[in-house]
């Protein structure tokens, strides 16, 4: 009798233990199962490296098949910005460099809550370029690149650490690309400025840079486009009292009263500066197609007088610049000077 009681107790204890472990195993299995699901939910941003004050698309990246029927709630800096069934993406506007936007998503699926988050820290890397071509004094516009002229590139990054402090541009690693191709010679640590050759007429080009912290954790990207143009010659009037009248370009014709004179000033926009100063440049003035002056040094001015010869109604003035050993570094311009009676 006593043994039967002990047997019964043993069986009860055994069954209880079996039940306990079975449940525990089940629970563990369930936990493991949900834990795996959590790891399959993540967020992606487009663009991948957001800049400042721009719209960024955040999307859920998940293998779950029932996202479309799940209640999804989006938070930006702990504030609900969107909540609804199947809301798998939101658009967020970044702030200035140094700011941080904490994006969190909560997914209610099959009675369980899944979450994922990311932090967006906008960065900037402006690309500014400058062509080494001619523009006149006091000109407020940009010098444009002509064929085979030099171009200077400069990256202006703004990358902030977690503390908000700006990382010095000298302490970043730069990767430069021209028309999609990496240019290793000008890339590297601290290399935020570089010289390149411009390219050929009509070509549209893009200069890109990615600037990264030394540990590669934070990066910024930027690009700028430039198009190669033809250099060109224009005429301005040079007034003997007030100087060169850059405010108004002379057109194809200019009129002179009888007895008057005019000084024409030629301006060679966007010629390569080195080519203009080189020994292979030829500068030619023509009057009614006759060469009156030709030399290798710049002579940008000519004085035209109406004269007293009533039979002459005007004259055509032409100025040419030709750089012999440089492709497409040449231009010509004409102007008709009409004498009023």
């Amino acid at each position: 009798m006593k043994n039967q009681r002990i047997k019964k107790r043993a069986i009860v204890i055994f069954v209880a233990l079996v039940c306990f472990f079975a449940v525990s195993a089940g629970e563990a299995e369930a936990q493991t199962l949900f834990g795996d699901i959590n790891k399959t939910v993540s967020l992606t941003s487009t663009p991948r490296i957001p800049g400042s004050n721009e719209e960024v698309l955040i999307e859920i990246n998940s293998v779950l098949a029932n996202l479309g029927t799940s209640l999804i709630t989006w938070y930006v800096n702990d504030r609900i910005v969107l909540s609804g069934y199947g809301e798998q993406r939101i658009s967020v506007r970044t702030g200035n460099p140094g700011s941080a936007s904490v994006i969190r998503v909560s997914i209610l699926s099959a009675g369980s809550v899944l979450e994922a988050s990311m932090v967006i820290r906008p960065t900037i890397a402006d690309v500014i370029w400058e062509a080494d071509t001619y523009t006149p004094p006091f000109y407020r516009g940009k010098a444009l690149p002509s064929t085979e002229s030099k171009i200077k590139l400069w990256a202006v990054p703004d990358i902030r650490s977690d503390s908000g402090a700006r990382v010095s541009s000298n302490n970043l690693v730069y990767e430069w690309r021209i028309n999609g191709l990496p240019v290793r010679e000008i890339s590297g640590y601290g290399k935020n400025a570089a010289f390149i050759q411009s390219g050929y007429l009509g070509q549209s080009n893009v200069a890109e840079v990615v600037a990264r912290t030394s540990d590669g954790v934070i990066s910024a990207s930027g690009k700028s486009y430039y198009q190669i143009v033809e250099p060109w010659l224009v005429f301005y009037e040079k007034n003997s009292l007030t100087g060169i009248l850059f405010n108004t370009m002379l057109g194809n014709d200019v009129r002179l009263s009888k007895g008057d004179s005019i000084i024409l000033r030629a301006v060679p926009y966007f010629f390569d500066r080195d080519a203009l100063q080189g020994s292979n440049a030829a500068y030619t003035w023509k009057l009614d197609r006759d060469i009156i002056d030709r030399g290798t040094s710049p002579s940008y001015e000519i004085s035209i007088s109406s004269g007293e010869n009533a039979a002459v109604s005007g004259i055509t003035v032409e100025y040419d610049i030709d750089i012999e050993d440089r492709l497409l570094q040449s231009a010509s311009q004409k102007i008709n000077v009409r004498y009023d009676e």
Partner: protein
């Protein structure tokens, strides 16, 4: 006896009739002949010095006493006698220049009403500055030909020459924080080297009529300048090596502080009333432009706005907004950028920011010259090069309410260098077509 009386009576009647006829003739003369008037000579007289060739320049103080009176564009001239002599105290009666707007029209003597639109100078002008003295607004301007400085009272038509120091062919003149201090920019004789003179006006000695200009030259080749209209300092960009260095100095060049360094040399600087230095990349039609605050403590650039094609920008005095123009296909459009909110919004007008000036009393108000039409071109390049000439009207824009108000129609004026007096009393602009100087009373 009665015959004598009759004869006497007839004589008396004849004399009365004769007097009446003479009086009537004088009245007719006063109304019709004087009112129609002859064309008035230029307000700034014949050409300076040299053989008297009429180049529309300033009258030398050669003692001939001829005062300047102006051609009055667009106004039926009248009522003002020509050839008024120099008053003998160094003042020259200015032209009661006409123009459109209320109060225009001729008058004689002290009853003359000053028109709202005035041509202050019909000769090329390099810069202008307005200041208040005992409640009166004065305007100083510098003529390009000889660098002489003139001053106009805005409450009457008097004009006087402040300095007669000759510095030929001044291209740019910028006053700093007082009517005595300015920066002059010109080309070294026969070259394209830019000279920059930090200048001070030395007032006339007691009993003298005119002062002189003294100054210190900065190194040759300064690319661009911005002046602090509050503190009087000057920021300038000087090419060094393969790039440019930015310095801050005072009008005496007694201190030079390096605050910026860049491999890029093409910047347009601006110094706001709030003390910020802004650097904007020089624009071209299809090229993305950027504008930055310059931190003068560490030389770093903090982006205000970027990646806008053909961008030009003018920041308001308190550094909170900018009027921005950017290139569109063959033209341009204008927007307002809220710097704090980082929002860029169109305001329904099309102009270049160089044609605008912010109010000095309300940081949300901006005045602009707006082209009546926009010829197809690459902007702003074509305008900078002088290849395209525009014709503008004058407008007031409230950037807070988003409203625009038409102020004035102008005849063949391409507004450049728009500026404003200390409390928004007057607008000033140079007509890019002929570099003449105008004022408009707001």
């Amino acid at each position: 006896m009665s015959d004598k009386k009759e004869i006497g009576r007839k004589i008396l009647v004849g004399v009365i009739i004769l007097l009446a006829v003479v009086a009537l003739a004088l009245i007719i003369y006063g109304i019709f002949v004087v009112s129609s008037g002859d064309e008035l000579p230029s307000p700034l007289g014949a050409g300076e010095g040299d053989g008297g060739e009429d180049a529309g320049g300033i009258v030398e103080d050669g003692g001939d006493g001829t005062g300047p009176f102006g051609d009055i564009p667009g106004v039926p001239s009248g009522g003002v006698p020509s050839g008024v002599s120099d008053a003998g105290d160094g003042t020259l009666p200015g032209t009661p220049s006409g123009g459109v707007g209320p109060g225009s029209g001729a008058g004689v003597g002290s009853d003359f009403e000053i028109p709202r639109l005035r041509e202050l100078s019909d000769v090329p002008t390099a810069g202008v500055y307005a200041f208040a003295d005992e409640g009166v607004i004065f305007t100083r301007f510098l003529t390009r030909e000889r660098g002489h400085i003139f001053e106009a009272r805005m409450d009457d038509t008097r004009l006087r020459r402040v300095t007669n120091t000759t510095i030929p062919q001044i291209y740019q003149a910028m006053w700093t924080n007082s009517e005595e201090n300015l920066v002059l920019r010109y080309l070294e004789n026969g070259t394209e080297q830019v000279e920059t003179l930090l200048a001070r006006i030395i007032p006339a000695e007691e009993g003298g009529a005119e002062g002189r200009v003294e100054g210190i030259l900065l190194p040759q080749g300064v690319e661009e300048i911005a002046v602090d209209e509050e503190g009087g300092e000057i920021f300038y960009l000087l090419p060094q090596g393969n790039g440019v260095v930015g310095y801050i100095t005072d009008i005496n060049a007694s201190k030079q502080k390096k605050v910026f360094e860049s491999p890029i040399t093409e910047w347009i600087p601006q110094w706001t009333k709030s003390g910020d230095i802004i650097l904007t990349t020089k624009p071209s039609a299809n090229i993305l432009g950027h504008a930055y605050f310059l931190d003068v403590k560490n030389g770093e650039l903090e982006r205000i706005l970027g990646n806008e094609p053909g961008m030009t920008a003018l920041v308001n005095p308190d550094g909170t907004r900018a009027i921005v123009s950017r290139n569109t296909r063959g033209g341009f459009e204008t927007l307002i950028y809220d710097i704090k909110e980082a929002t860029l919004d169109p305001i329904g007008i099309k102009t270049l920011s160089e044609k605008c000036v912010w109010s000095r009393v309300d940081a949300t108000i901006v005045y602009c010259g707006i082209p009546v039409s926009i010829p197809r071109g690459d902007y702003p390049d074509s305008w900078y090069q002088g290849a395209i000439v525009l014709s503008d009207g004058l407008w007031r824009i409230d950037t807070e309410l988003g409203t625009v108000k038409f102020l004035l129609s102008l005849n063949e004026v391409d507004i450049a260098s728009l500026s404003i007096s200390p409390n928004d009393e007057f607008l000033y602009f140079i007509n890019k077509r002929d570099l003449s100087l105008w004022s408009y009373e707001l």
